[in-house]
Structures are given as C-alpha cells and as structure tokens.
C-alpha cells in the first residue's frame, strides 16, 4: 500500500543509539512519521532532542563505530532503507534523497571549484558526460539565483559569502532532482536578511521541482513560515504532530506550549509603557538519555504531570484533523489557557 501511496517516506518506531563512556544514549527513541510527496515537514526541538540524528538515520549516516539504528523501519518509496546495502545507499544519497547542512563550508571541498563539485554529483548519479554536467551545474546556479553563474562555476567556496555558499549547497542538493531534501538548520548560521532570502528560495524551488522537504530546526519562527506540518520532538521522542496552523493555534503538548511561551515575540505588540513582561521559563533540564525513561520524558518539568505520567509512557493519540499528541493530561492541557 505504501509504495503506490502518497507517502514518499515512512519512518516507523525508529530507534537510534550511540555508545558513549556514560552508557548507551537513546538519541532517537521510537519515532514515527510520514512525509507526503511534495510536502514540507518541519521537525522541531531543542539541542539533543534527536532531530538531527533522525535525519542522519534516514540517510544512514550514523557513524558505525559509535552508533547504530537499533530498531524500526525507514521506507523510501516503499523500499526499506535500514537494511539496504551501502552501495545502493550511495546511489540514493545526493540523488533521490539529498541533504543540506547548517554550515556549508564543512560540506564543500575547499580545493575544488563549485562548478566541479556540483558537476561531480551530476556525473556520478546521472551518468552524463562531464560537459553536460557542467552545463547542468551552471543551470543550477542560475536556478538558485546566483548572479553571473557561469563565472561563479570557476570560483572556490572561500570566495563566496555565507549566503552564497548555502545557495551552492542547495544547487548541489537539487542537481539530480531528488524526491526528498533534508535540510538540517539550513539558515541558522546566516544573518536574518540572508535567512529570509534562503527560506524564500527553498519554498520557490519546492514549488518548481515538487521536492518534498524535511526541515529540521530549533527555530519556531522558521517552522511557522515555511512548513506545512510539524513534528515536535523531546528527548528522542515525538511528543506532538500537527498541521502547522493547528500547532500554532492550539499546541496541545505541555512542552510545545512551554516552547511557545518561552520565546520573546516580535509579532506581539508591547504594552504602552514598554514594560518587559517575564518570559515563561520551562523549569529544569532535559533528562539524560543514558537512562531508560519510564514514563513521559517531559514529566519532571511539566506542570500538568501526575503519578501516571512518571511511570507510564503516554501513547500518541489522534485528537482529530491530523493532530496527534502524546500526553495523558491532554484534556486538562486543552482546557487551560495558552
């Protein structure tokens, strides 16, 4: 059913673990989500919530010396990726599933021109001659609106600004017409005016190419302005998922609510005296992921928590219209003021 269905990517009960000196870290602890064709899905959460590890797991980029996908399934166009051989995986990466990272300089080769780097990917995956691949590279730079693309082909990454490098990364990622683009904090290192340019570019290109996007970020503003559906992660688990409007209109998990109240808002008018209202803090710290967490991972920091929350993990419950939440006390949360 899934192969022909509308989902291009299906992740089920994914568990990714790392061996550390402190023990086994359960970085991703039973996460499931779907990505529809042409959809933009946001994965949001704070440091250590497992959002980046989820992305690396999909691409099978977990370093085998320290980590492993311990359980679960990742299906791309119906094909199981967790058991796929490395050679087949290599054909997939950068071709049908692409990724862009926060810091483009770490993924660009400093001693090759950007034209060569984009063309290399095209030659490898599309099997076209070098000259055609360079043409393609030029087209791609044009597509990501780098002015004077032909001249830029012969420049090295250090000659480009940060925003320009991220454009090159996007050009490279899209050069083989991927079905899925995974973008991990693609604008976090950029200045706000450049961030706005890059986000707009990504959305325009998505319209043009139909590539589905998984956008991983800690920034609720970026999520609100670019995605259609959002997965909220906490301590390696998915705690809430909803269409973006529903999530921001009525967040139901106490953690999601906490996040939204903790951010200073630009869009809310200050009162006449210009006083500084207190931000709502989320008390306490993220739990250690080396110990099994018996109940809800957020319970120790949650104002709604009961005894049951501390011992029994809450299941994800569908509350309607594609909005799911993992919280035993969701009725009380919903009844309380946001």
């Amino acid at each position: 059913m899934s192969a022909a269905g509308s989902n291009i990517l299906e992740v089920r009960n994914l568990e990714t673990q790392f061996n550390t000196l402190d023990g086994v870290v359960r970085a991703v602890d039973g996460v499931s989500f779907d990505l529809a064709r042409g959809e933009t899905l946001g994965i949001v959460g704070e440091s250590g919530c497992g959002k980046s590890v989820t992305a690396l797991s999909i691409l099978r980029l977990i370093p085998p010396e320290t980590g492993r996908i311990a359980a679960g399934s990742i299906k791309f166009e119906g094909e199981e990726l967790t058991s796929l051989g490395e050679a087949a995986m290599k054909r997939l990466r950068g071709h049908r599933i692409s990724m862009i990272f926060q810091e483009p300089m770490t993924s660009l080769n400093p001693v090759l021109t950007v034209g060569t780097q984009i063309a290399e990917n095209v030659v490898r995956h599309m099997g076209v001659p070098w000259r055609a691949a360079r043409e393609r590279a030029c087209e791609m730079l044009d597509l990501v609106r780098i002015a004077d693309a032909r001249r830029r082909l012969d420049e090295y990454p250090h000659q480009l600004s940060g925003g320009m490098r991220q454009r090159v990364m996007i050009a490279m990622a899209l050069s083989c017409d991927p079905q899925v683009l995974i973008a991990d904090e693609p604008t976090t290192a950029l200045d706000v005016t450049i961030q706005a340019q890059i986000l707009q570019l990504m959305l325009e290109l998505k319209e043009k190419t139909g590539t589905a996007i998984v956008l991983i970020t800690h920034d609720l503003g970026v999520v609100a302005e670019t995605t259609e559906r959002v997965v909220v992660m906490y301590a390696g688990r998915k705690v809430e998922e909803a269409p973006v409007e529903a999530l921001f209109a009525e967040p139901l998990h106490p953690y999601t609510r906490g996040l939204m109240r903790a951010i200073p808002r630009l869009d809310v008018e200050a009162d006449a005296a210009g006083t500084r209202p207190r931000l709502q803090e989320i008390p306490g710290l993220v739990p250690r992921l080396t110990q099994p967490i018996p109940g809800c991972a957020f319970a120790p920091r949650c104002g709604f928590a009961t005894e049951r929350c501390r011992v029994e993990p809450p299941p994800l419950v569908d509350v309607g219209a594609g909005h799911t939440v993992a919280c035993w006390e969701v009725d009380r949360v919903r009844a309380s003021a946001l």
Binding site: V192, Q195, A196, L220, R265
Partner: protein, 341 residues
Amino acid sequence: MSEPSAAERPVLEVEGLVKHFPIHGGLLQRRTGEVRAVDGVSFSIARGETLGLVGESGCGKSTIGKTVLKLIEPTSGRIVLAGENISALKPGAMWAHRRRIQTIFQDPYSSMNPRLPAGTIVGEPLENFGLSRGRDTDERVAKLFERVGLRPDAMRKYAHEFSGGQRQRLGIAKALSVNPDVIVADEPVSALDVSVQAQVLNLLIDLQEEFRLAYLFISHDLAVMRHISHRIAVMYLGRIVEITTKRRLFSQPLHPYTEALLSAATAPDPKRRRQRKRIVEGDVPSPANPPPGCHFHTRCPYATAECKVTAPPLIEVAEGHHVACLRRPVGGDPGPLSIPG
C-alpha cells in the same frame, strides 16, 4: 520597570568612536588598507538602562563591545565611564576602572579555566580587585551562586559539569561579583535553547532592576532585543543607522535597513507568511571596502542618486529618534518611502 531618570549623567558615554583594523598585504606585509569596523559611533547608556546594539555579522557591534571594555584600543573617539574618560588610559591606569565595566560572553565556557572549581572562578575577580579574601570571598560567592540560581554545592564542580544555561549563570555571577556599573553582554543567549534562554533573560532583567545595572546588549536577534532593551541602536557596516526607544523602533522604523531587518525576522505565526514582506536583496558589502555615500545604498530600494555619494549624518528627526537617511529629513513624513524612478 520605571524609566531610567533623565537628570542623572549617563554611566557610559561614547562619542565619535572609531576603530579601524589595518590590513597588511604584499611581500613586505605593508599596510594595504583598513577594515573600518567602527566608523564614528556615539551613544550613551543611563544607570538601569539597556541599550541594544543590533545588526548583522560584520556591522561592528562586537568591536564596539570590545573597545568599550578596552580589550582593544579605539583608533579615536571618547569613552566616558562614570564621568571618567577612559579612552586614552594605558592598561595600568585602566585597571582601577575595570571593576566598573564587566562582560558576559556568548560562550562562557571558553573563558573559564577547566581546572578550577566554579567557586574559585567566580571568586577570582573579588580577590583580584582586593574586595575580599579567603572565607569572606567564599561567603560572597555562595550568595552570588544563590542569586543567579545555582545550588551552593555547585561551587565545587568544574565548568564541564555544567549545562550551557548553568555556565551562562556562572558567567553572570562572575561579572556581577565585583559590583559593576555597566555590563557588556555580547550575544549572551544566542547559544542557548529557547527554554533556557528565557531563564537567562529573566535573570538578567531581575538583576538589572535590583542593582540598577546598565547593559550594552549586543545581539543579532530582534525578538530578544525587543524583549530586553529600553533603547535600540541598529548598526550597518560600522555606523549606527537608527537609534531610538524600543517602542518607536518597532512601531515606526524609519531607516530602510531597519525596515528590512524587521521584515526579514521570522515570527512563530503561520498566518504571517501570507503577508510576506519585502526581502532585501544582496549581501552585506565588505567593511574593508564599504560603498561610498550611504553604506546601505547598494541594497536599498529607496536609494536616490544622492545616496550614492553623500554619507547621511545621524540626525534627530523626532524626539529621541535619530536616523541616518537622506530620505528621512527632520519634519519629514514618517510614512512609507516611495521607490524612486
């Protein structure tokens, strides 16, 4: 909180501050140019007040912080701290004034000795300035720990044992220990997760009200800036392009760059994306080779021929609202600008 009193002399006054860094090149490493990191900046901060410095990378905001702290020497200009001109003081003479102006960094970890327990790190400035010794220091440090929300037993821990937010609390305790007048906070919450960021921002506001601290708060994040600042200066390529109260800046931005910054900032509200705003094109030019005239003219949709040749002075166009834009004269219409041509 109450507005800082106007009658009192500002605790920090900066006038015409310039900092140029030389660029050396060629075989003989001769001076071939200079980066005009800060190019004639003036502002003042009252006791109990937060002045926010906002701008993108390379605008000179951090250089201002370092210069005011006298970690680097200004090329020219005056820095007056609590009535005393410190701009020309040599390091030895500066020592006596260092207690008055302290700093909080983005990454407090890099400024902490990994081999010293946290209590010693926080107590060090007290002993350095001869404010206390031995047991007295320990007691004061314990009080500081309590005040910034750290448990007293944390005094025996080492920096690596703290989380990011706790380390920032340590950094704040250290800055606070010598009872300063001014704290320069350079991106103090940028590296923190939002839930922890809220804790630190609340703490900074509480401490300011309790001790009447003046903050020079440097950040690229407009939402954080709006939360903590009383007044905000917007910088672009080494110059202040607009400076006014927080309220005016957000309700009636006058400089086209401020407008661009505000419209580029994302908001956690999906409804906003439909009213997508003007996105300013292009990159920030290099501060080693800034455009002539108004530095922003290369990206400004409203720029006229004159903007390309004449550098606009920062003038007060309305009470407490200074802007450096040729198209915003005194008494001009504060409404939207028209695009020329």
